[in-house]
Structure formats: structure tokens, C-alpha cells
Symmetry: C2
DNA sequence: TATTGTTATACTCTATAACTATA
DNA sequence: TATAGTTATAGAGTATAACAATA
């Protein structure tokens, strides 16, 4: 059988997504676009909007003073070069500071600034709320299911127990 | 209480993700990075690697001859300008052709080429397999659960019933 | 020899706005 | 006045490779 249609579709309701209809990675990828766009809107103008990594970095540095860029790199799934540029950008914005470690001069220690701490405090509720609101039409039980499974996947991929 | 640690962590296992630990959008965004990277690897050199949209476009045009760019734009969550550039790129690669509609000269009809059809046939199993393999460590039942929920979210966002 | 971080490059995506042509 | 598609631009992310300094 062939799913090919005879006349061109004139509305999205006449379209099927071919094999993507049942492909989990397709939904992850498209939902990422939607949820990231919504998050950017909610954080507009806030110095951590746009792109993945800024929020995680800010919260990690705030919660773990002295954390190293290479650890953040592993957790946000970026390489060291991308992470380095991210740190530089956040330092330029006055959110974090970088210090050379006294015990191993190759490594840097990251510390939050006052401005960074204030921003962290401000975005924590926003980030939580955005996720909850965005998935509002999915029941809390299913949201939890979804998160449990994805959390397991994430932890496995970054190498957490 | 304060989750702040006293000494800098030296391994990712000593780190907690702050509020992101329980934030669904965080996991969607990070899993997107991982799954997209893996998909790019699996499709390396294949003219549809890199970026979301090329695969969907190729399969949609193959399954729905004469489909319009604006319909594809809605389904891949891009605006018309981004979609237009995507169409141009795929036409340059000889995968699709664009024709002006005879009934409404504003709209274009997209058609697959021989080369495009061959590529579509080739990637269909690859795309399905990639998703299955990538989430192999999650049980088939849970994969299905995950997909059902995300599919519902996707359909709601693009405005499908 | 491995690790941490830097630099450079080239490519792609994203968002916005202004524009043409047609309905 | 609304719709389909184009063009231009600025900002961001991504991948890769080569590099310096240190362990």
C-alpha cells in the first residue's frame, strides 16, 4: 500500500507525518522547539534567555560554588570550547567570576556574583512555572511519568547513577 | 534549608541540578541535544543531516505531492521565511522541485524528484531505527507511553485534532 | 600522555522586519 | 485587508580541529 495522496493537501489536518508519526525522536525534537521558544518568551530580557546552558550554568554555579567548567560541560552536553564561551559570556554579563584553582592551575573555579545570585533567585520560580504551565494540558500524573522516564534517559546519557 | 555545598564538586556525581532536577522542560531540551546529535551521526553525509525540518520536509513532499510550503511550516514549527530557505536548499540539492499553483499563483506546489524519492526510501528505516535504538534502555511500553503523551502535546501545539 | 581550557573557523538555526505579488 | 512567499540582517548555537599549559 501507498499512503501517497492524489490531490495536494490544503490544510494540515489532511496530512499524515509518514513514519515520523510513530517516531519518538521526532516528537522530542519538535517539542524542544516549542518549549524553548516559550521559555525564551517567559525569560525575555533576563540575561539567561536564548539557548540551552545559561540557566543550568547559573543555577549550578549558585548551588555549587567553585564548580569547574568541565563539570558543567558534561551536564549540559556541550564540549569544553562551547562551554568556555558560555562562561566568558556570563562573566561579561557580571553573573559569575572565574578564578584559577590553587591546587591545580589548569582548572578554574566558578563563583556566583551578587547580580548572578539575584538572577538565580529570580529565575528559579520562573523556570519551574514555565514547565508546569507549558504542559498544563497534560495531567500531573502523566507529566510525572514523562519526567521520570526522561530523567532516567538523561542520567544515563551524562553518566549519572 | 540551603543546598549550597561547602567544597567545590570534583565529579558530576556530587552535583545536583537544583530546581532543574524536577523540571520537565529541562529534560526535553537536553534530550533534544543528545538525540539530535545521535541522529546526525546516523545520517552522516546524507543531505538531510543537521537541523530539524529536512527529514520532515522530504517525507511530507514524498507522501503528499503538491503540498505547500506553508503547510510544512506549520508542521515543523517554523515561520515561512525559515521554511522558504529550507525549500530552496532542498531544491538546490535536487531533492524537490517547486511549481507555481495554477489555481492560486501565490502558492507553490512541491514535488519530489527521483533523487528525493530514493533518499526518502533510504532514510525511512534509518529514522525509525535511530529512535528505537537511542531509547533502547527504556522499555517498549514506556517508549510508547512517552510517545503517546508527546504526540498529544505536539498535535495540540500545531493545532491538529 | 591525558586533562583543562582557549582560539579559530565554518556552518546552521532563529527571530524580526520589510517587501512583492496575489486574492 | 489577508495570505504566500522572499529578502535582509543580526544574534546564537554547533562541530571540529589545533593549540598552550599543566599534571
Amino acid at each position: 500500500m501507498d499512503a501517497r495522496s492524489k490531490t495536494p493537501p490544503t490544510s494540515i489536518t489532511e496530512v499524515t507525518l509518514d513514519v515520523l508519526e510513530d517516531t519518538l525522536s521526532f516528537y522530542i525534537r519538535t517539542m524542544n522547539i516549542a518549549v524553548s521558544r516559550d521559555l525564551d518568551d517567559k525569560l525575555e530580557g533576563l540575561d539567561v534567555a536564548k539557548g540551552t546552558g545559561k540557566i543550568t550554568t547559573l543555577l549550578l554555579v549558585d548551588s555549587h560554588p567553585g564548580i569547574r567548567p568541565s563539570i558543567i560541560a558534561e551536564l549540559i552536553l556541550r564540549d569544553r570550547s562551547a562551554t568556555g564561551r558560555l562562561m566568558e559570556q556570563m562573566e561579561d554579563h557580571g553573573l559569575i567570576t572565574r578564578r584559577q584553582s590553587s591546587t591545580d592551575s589548569r582548572v578554574q573555579e566558578l563563583y556566583i556574583t551578587e547580580k548572578g545570585a539575584a538572577l538565580a533567585a529570580r529565575i528559579r520560580p520562573l523556570v519551574t512555572e514555565q514547565s508546569r504551565d507549558f504542559f498544563k494540558f497534560i495531567s500531573p500524573e502523566e507529566q510525572q511519568q514523562l519526567m521520570d522516564i526522561l530523567k532516567r534517559a538523561y542520567r544515563r546519557i551524562v553518566g549519572l547513577p
